[in-house]
Symmetry: C2
Subunit: 146 residues, 2 copies
């Protein structure tokens, strides 16, 4: 279990219910997606992810993700004002969940795309995919949705 990050006022003790209270909103998993599979790591990058999150919501979600200890916020190495956001191990541990969600949607929902390289790794090389997530090597550059 390793010291959970966040004492949630849970609806029930069910693992699924509790997981959903952290992850089950309109934006959180999309941000984790960007951090996990693409080279997005700055505020402005997330803003460009096509689904059209607004600045206040992005700020709020990034803060929540830090509270839950799914994301670290680091000073940008060169730009004084910027920050870099990266997944913690706890956040990286969501990889299997995101993979299963993406595969299910790909197989069962219309007009649903996964970039080919990512799809191949999801099916044939999960170990390699996890390794790249751990090492923060993006599988997709810039954008997953097309």
């Amino acid at each position: 279990m390793s010291e959970p990050p966040y004492k949630h006022e849970a609806r029930s003790g069910c693992a699924l219910a509790n997981g959903l209270e952290i992850l089950g909103d309109r934006w959180t998993i999309l941000l984790i997606r960007d951090l996990m599979f693409t080279n997005k790591e700055e505020f402005g990058h997330f803003m460009q992810s096509g689904e059209g999150i607004s600045t206040n919501i992005l700020t709020d979600r990034l803060n929540r993700l830090q509270q839950y200890k799914l994301v670290n916020k680091l000073a940008h190495p060169s730009h004084g004002k910027k920050y870099i956001y990266e997944l913690t191990e706890r956040g990286q541990a969501l990889a299997p969940l995101l993979i299963e969600l993406a595969l299910w949607a790909h197989h069962h929902v219309t007009d649903t795309l996964i970039p080919d390289k990512l799809y191949q790794m999801m099916i044939n090389d999960k170990a390699g995919l996890y390794e790249r997530v751990r090492n923060k090597e993006p599988i997709v550059i810039i954008d997953l949705k097309k």
Copy 2:
């Protein structure tokens, strides 16, 4: 891909985003949980699942699940007025997703429980678990949350 069920007005072509538009609300996955792992199959059973869904929302979510072809609604064999709800294959195909969500929450969120038998199967016998989901053999009787 096998003829997707539902043409969704998607926010983007991303598989994750599209999956979330079907599954990403406060109740849907909890209903799928009940159908997948417990012996719940009637309207009243879902009402008793502890998280306190109200009747209008339950009706709405059961209808949506039918539209998405994740759930079948069958006439009850003995009670004329009742119906039986069961997962379709498309719904059963969500098992890996639910398992990964439950395991992540169990490992990373406080006060989060998975009934022991279910947990053991999630870790040691996924094939057996899928088999039981397919055969509609409940792993847990009545209630997952305690």
